[in-house]
Amino acid sequence: MATGKPAAAHRDWLGLKKEPPPRRRFALAVLSFVLPLALWSAISYVPWLWHPLVRITSAGDVEYFSTGMEVPRANFERENQKAAAEKTDPAQGYRVNPPYLPPPHAVARAFVTAFQTPPRLPGEPWLYQSLGHSIRTILWGFIASSILGVPLGILSGAYRLFSWIQEPFIEFFRYLPAPAFAALCVAVLGIYDPPKIAIIFIGTFFQQVLVIANTVRRVDPTFVEAAQTLGASGPSLLWRVVIPAAVVEIYADMRILLGWAWTYLIVAEVVGTMSGITYFINQQARYRNFPNVYAAIAMIGIIGLSTDFALAWLGRWFFPWKRASRRVAKPTGLQRVRRPKGVPTREVKAA
């Protein structure tokens, strides 16, 4: 160890028992993005890594080569050996990666250009319109599912009656893959947005009821008992004890479920008329504009991750009692108006 460090400096670098300090945590989090990016860059920019194709710059005397053509390296070498044997002019070219693996800078550029490029066909949506369409589809599907799923889940978790009358069927139904209902949804709801929203609903709802029911069931029963000995009963136990006791966990469940809703998006968007970001990705792939394809896929991730971050941040704001610190954290938003006071936590001396 470095001599300047105190002897007690812990060496739990792997973090078996302790969380690393915040700065190292942040560095590791950044690294988790940098490492895959570095791998991708290496494959893209180091010429002798992979690069299985050769782009022809001069065809020489090889008959079926032409300038700009990309051929497998083995073919290129075979033809040039043949040319050397026959003493004809060999072809020239440099190694490239296949078009479906564009280098990072091309994808980065596509993040901007994709928004600026007008659609090729008249009546086609711009990228931002496609994205907006996707977000709308997700949101409606998720909202519809939550309006029904959250109350049912809470009832199911709180009362055995509701649990037994709905969960066995839901357990069965959740194994039916949502895409299996695609044809039905189109037949019933048409070819535009409703069947897509329905797919997201089917994919989310059944899981939602079960997940939330389980969360509510985990509420410590002594909270309910304590409330009963204080005179609470009936619906008041649900509203004033069970729901507040579970609300933080329910909120966390909702964040995870929203992530699941996104995974059904692509399936939902190929149902009926293809729409949204899926349509954009498909069109761009058809035009062999692969940087745009990657950019669009990455955008889904960015939207998902930033929504989750925003929700996590909002959660700190909604549930002040869940803050880890023993002192109340810096007030945010509404709490500036209604702030709980920070308190010292030493035991008060007997009077």
Binding site: T222, T229, L230, P244, V343, E347
Partner: protein
Amino acid sequence: MTPPELTPPQVPLRDLVPDYRELSPEVAARFAHLRERPVILSIRGLEKSFGHGGSAARALQDMSFDVHRREFVCIVGPSGCGKSTLVRIVAGLDEATGGAVLLDGQEVTGPGPDRGMVFQGYTLFPWLTVRRNVMFGLRERGQPPRAAEATAQRWLEMVGLEGFADAYPHELSGGMKQRVAIARALANQPRILIMDEPFGALDAQTRAQMQSYLLQIWKNVEVTILFITHDLDEAAYLSDRVVVMGANPGRVVETIENPVPRPRRPDQFISRSFLSLKRRLTELIQPHDEAEDAGTLPISKLTDAADTVE
């Protein structure tokens, strides 16, 4: 203050301390006065068994005792004797399979605010501030927010935590949480306060502090206390009477009138009357032969255990 007779270890303790039934005149007068007060809680032939038919396990068998107004009754017993089952039935959280629990002569059928309860675990609602925790029962009973807030403030002052009214429970220490729990239960002005090993999770120092807090509160508030503990010192220090329970099935073995005079002080822990009660409780809870076996595990000395340590 150590009684000099205690120092020679050869003399058995039982010859040095008086009989636990010997009450000083003041204590005897106190009990005579106490017995004249009305009965608040009456346990009548209480039975509880789990399971059905032949395989049913009896947790409680024919338990009967009374608690008078303003009395402090402790229930002690070996682990598994059904202390918790008993209080849960009294609180209305479990149902008895026989007998009855009468509160002011009315049979108890379910949980209610007339029987306040302080649990061993911390059951403050973590989503409510300390003030709102104390207000919970009051609001539940329909008190308007302003009035409930004022009442809560008074009870927080009573337990010395008015400065923490806006804190959340996770910001408090264990002892403070239990004080809030006591305030929360008392704010409802229950007929009886049931405490199920409330200080069991606290360290020895905090526990001693809480015991004297509780005595202070009890002195100043019109409340009857039914206190469950497995700590014999705690029972002897706090109680007016001790109900000793036996296990398999849970039953009342003896109800003892505490010979230690009030007001209680920590230095009474080595008084003769305290030790006489403690000795009796120990005898009842750990019968003599069992007490000797209990600490002995069938371990033979290992060959590489070189030095004799005892």
